[in-house]
């Protein structure tokens, strides 16, 4: 399979603006407070093959949306590189980024309430010269049909539609630029279950008919397990585990992934009493030392607070960033990585 998108050590940090008084105070030596930076995304290396769906999972504040925005060219990366179809796209540029479009979570916020649907959908395509203004009507009608909406809806305003229909309009808008790659940032999270199923089916249909590749960002593990071919799990700005979907859900390696899967409510799991993982995502302003997960990890060792575990290959196509793998491998358990270095009791999917 050909690689469509590749990021190498992609990072993003934001500097915290201080008040002028506070800056003046440091300048004359009254305050020792230095400029602080938030490292939202750290050294994220991903590759997505043509036609693949890569799931990006994590909790609020883990940096998954920031990764999506950098890939879509909405945010410049602080460091690292981004390649698309073999071309460097680290610096967002209009022409190359037309190939990457984005669908957002909230279709109530992402559509301009003052624009009619035909304008919403055709505006960017006309601006970029992909379609002439006089052909816009048939162009919009074609796109509306493609996303399962009646072409006569073109002259309506967004408020006249339901949430699911609005999300279809947002998808039509993304498709208008004939993209090869779509970043879906929680694109089905705000929808009702029955509508969510319709939109997921639409994504799958478009993948087949248009040969689209997706980065599917979501906190909903069931949705990711259903739609993604491979899954990357993020925690506090870093990827902690990356593998094909089946391995991640059947044999989660990183303790965080294990906790995430065990804690997600699911209909098909047996009733099991388990104590959920404690604590919350620490502030990225002041991340814990070493492995950022160690304060919540049930298996933390002294080493975990001192040394950050690198993302290493633990089996074919399965990457994880945990010191336990090291220990397990060194102990000579040849199949340790395959079989889980640590026992997980509470999920029936985990053997």
């Amino acid at each position: 399979m050909t690689t469509m998108l590749e990021t190498h050590d992609l990072s993003k940090s934001f500097s915290m603006k201080r008040s002028s008084l506070s800056r003046a105070a440091s300048a004359i030596g009254l305050s020792k407070q230095a400029d602080s930076r938030v490292y939202a995304v750290n050294e994220v290396s991903l590759s997505v093959s043509k036609g693949e769906v890569l799931g990006l999972v994590g909790e609020s504040g883990c940096g998954k949306s920031t990764v999506g925005r950098m890939i879509a060219g909405l945010l410049p990366a602080t460091s690292g590189t981004l390649q698309f179809d073999g071309k460097d796209m680290t610096k967002p540029s209009v022409d190359t980024h037309l190939n990457i479009q984005m669908v957002f979570q909230n279709p109530y916020a992402s559509l301009n309430p003052r624009q009619r649907v035909d304008q919403v959908i055709s505006e960017a395509a006309i601006y970029h010269g992909l379609v002439e203004k006089k052909n816009a009507q048939s162009f919009v009608a074609g796109l509306l049909k493609q996303v399962g909406l009646d072409p006569t809806y073109a002259s309506r305003f967004p408020h006249q539609f339901s949430g699911g229909q609005r999300q279809r309009i947002a998808i039509a808008r993304a498709l208008a630029l004939n993209p090869k790659f779509i970043v879906c940032d929680e694109a089905v999270s705000a929808l009702d279950v029955s509508v969510q199923a319709q939109i997921l089916n639409l994504f799958m249909d478009l993948r087949e008919s248009q040969g689209l590749t997706y980065l599917f960002i979501s906190h909903n593990l069931a949705v990711v397990e259903y739609i993604a071919d491979r899954v990357a799990i993020m925690y506090l700005g870093r990827i902690v585990e990356l593998a094909d979907t089946r391995s991640v859900f059947a044999r989660p390696n990183h303790p965080y992934t294990q906790a995430l899967i065990a804690d997600a409510p699911r209909l098909d799991a047996k009733v099991v009493e388990h104590r959920p993982i404690q604590g919350e995502l620490p502030s990225p302003l002041n991340p814990p030392s070493g492995c950022t997960f160690h304060p919540r990890c049930p298996h933390a060792m002294p080493r975990c607070s001192q040394e950050r575990p690198p993302l290493v290959k633990i089996s074919d196509g399965h990457w994880s960033a945990c010191h336990l793998n090291d220990a397990a491998m060194r102990a000579g358990e040849a199949t340790a990585a395959e079989e889980q270095p640590i026992t997980m009791l509470h999920h029936d999917q985990v053997n």
Binding site: S162, G163, Y226, A259, P265, L267, D268, I277, L281
Partner: protein, 318 residues
């Protein structure tokens, strides 16, 4: 006697475009110490149920019929004074957004203390002790410090815990929770579900847990009500309803959930969309979307009861 008995509750909204029947003859009972899950999609009436039970339905809405028996007392006849005695003391509510229920300019300790002091004449030290205990019970670390914090200084999960502490602090008979974990992360949701389950068991407080996600209530609830367009269309023990749903809508809802086994296949999706409340189809409002519908469905299906299960469908499954 059941703790809560709701009989044929009707709540209507009188709008310029007509009368929307948000609740249409909703009936259920809840025993002391039990957990009832109410599941439905947007607009199904699950939140209106909660607001009706708390007598919080505002104009243009009003409760137009039915009875709410709480400890045998018909709450529909209760005065405003009686309601302020009940709310926060015997019946408490937890909302989806804790920022909506917490006062942003009051310290956490003071807010919770107020809930105690309004309903009980107690020395200040005892009030503070109860606040401390409640915060500890919902799993808030360092409760003494948190009592001095303002809501904005807490994370979303901590705020929701404070809102829950505020609900349990007077040991109410009933807590109504309206999508309390929807805005939270998976691991935080799991923590809160775990704690709620234990709290309900220990204190004997009955719980109504409203959610759009059937898998959230699967392990928490004893009974489950499924709502569609203002009606409870199916009711029964949670495991029974999930294992073998009788109403085609419940079946559709469960089949629409993505999971590993249908990876790569098309998901089942219920055809059509939820009808607007102002123009509900006559009879069974699910009929236009239902593959089993026949002309009989033009009449409103009554509640069919069999042992502990109930549904409103002329052609039930299984």
């Amino acid at each position: 006697m059941a703790l809560l008995e709701v009989k044929d509750l009707v709540t209507e909204f009188h709008t310029e475009d007509g009368v929307a029947k948000a609740l249409d003859n909703v009936s259920f009972t809840l025993e002391r110490g039990k957990v009832l899950g109410i599941v439905g999609e947007s607009g199904s009436g699950k939140s209106v149920t909660a607001f009706s039970l708390m007598n919080l339905v505002d104009k243009p809405g009003k409760i137009a019929g039915g009875e709410i028996l709480f400890n045998g007392d018909n709450l529909r006849l209760a005065s405003a004074k009686r309601w302020s005695e009940l709310r926060g003391d015997r019946i408490a509510m937890v909302f989806q957004d804790p920022m909506m229920s917490l006062n942003p300019v009051m310290r956490v300790g003071a807010q919770l203390g107020e809930t105690v002091a309004i309903h009980n004449k107690l020395p200040k030290a005892e009030v503070e002790r109860r606040v401390f205990e409640a915060l500890k019970r919902v799993g808030i670390p360092a409760p003494l410090e948190r009592m001095r914090a303002y809501p904005h200084e807490l994370s979303g999960g901590m705020r929701q815990r404070v809102a829950i502490a505020n609900a349990i602090i007077n040991k109410p008979d009933l807590i109504i929770a309206d999508e309390p974990t929807t805005a939270l992360d998976v691991t935080i949701q799991a923590q809160i579900l775990y704690e709620m389950k234990h709290l309900a068991r220990q204190t004997g407080t009955a719980l109504i847990w409203i959610t759009h996600d059937i898998s959230v209530v699967k392990d928490l609830a004893d009974d489950l009500c499924v709502m569609y367009a203002g009606r409870i269309i199916e009711r029964g023990a949670v495991a029974d309803v999930i294992r073998d749903p009788q109403h085609p809508y419940t079946r559709g809802l469960i089949d629409s959930l993505p999971h590993a086994e249908n990876h790569g296949k098309r998901l089942y999706s219920i055809p059509g969309a939820t009808p607007p409340l102002l123009s509900l189809p006559p009879g069974c409002s699910f009929a236009p979307r239902c593959s089993r519908a026949q002309s009989t469905c033009n009449a409103t299906p009554p509640v069919f009861k069999l042992e502990s299960r109930e549904h409103r469908c002329f052609f039930p499954l299984g």
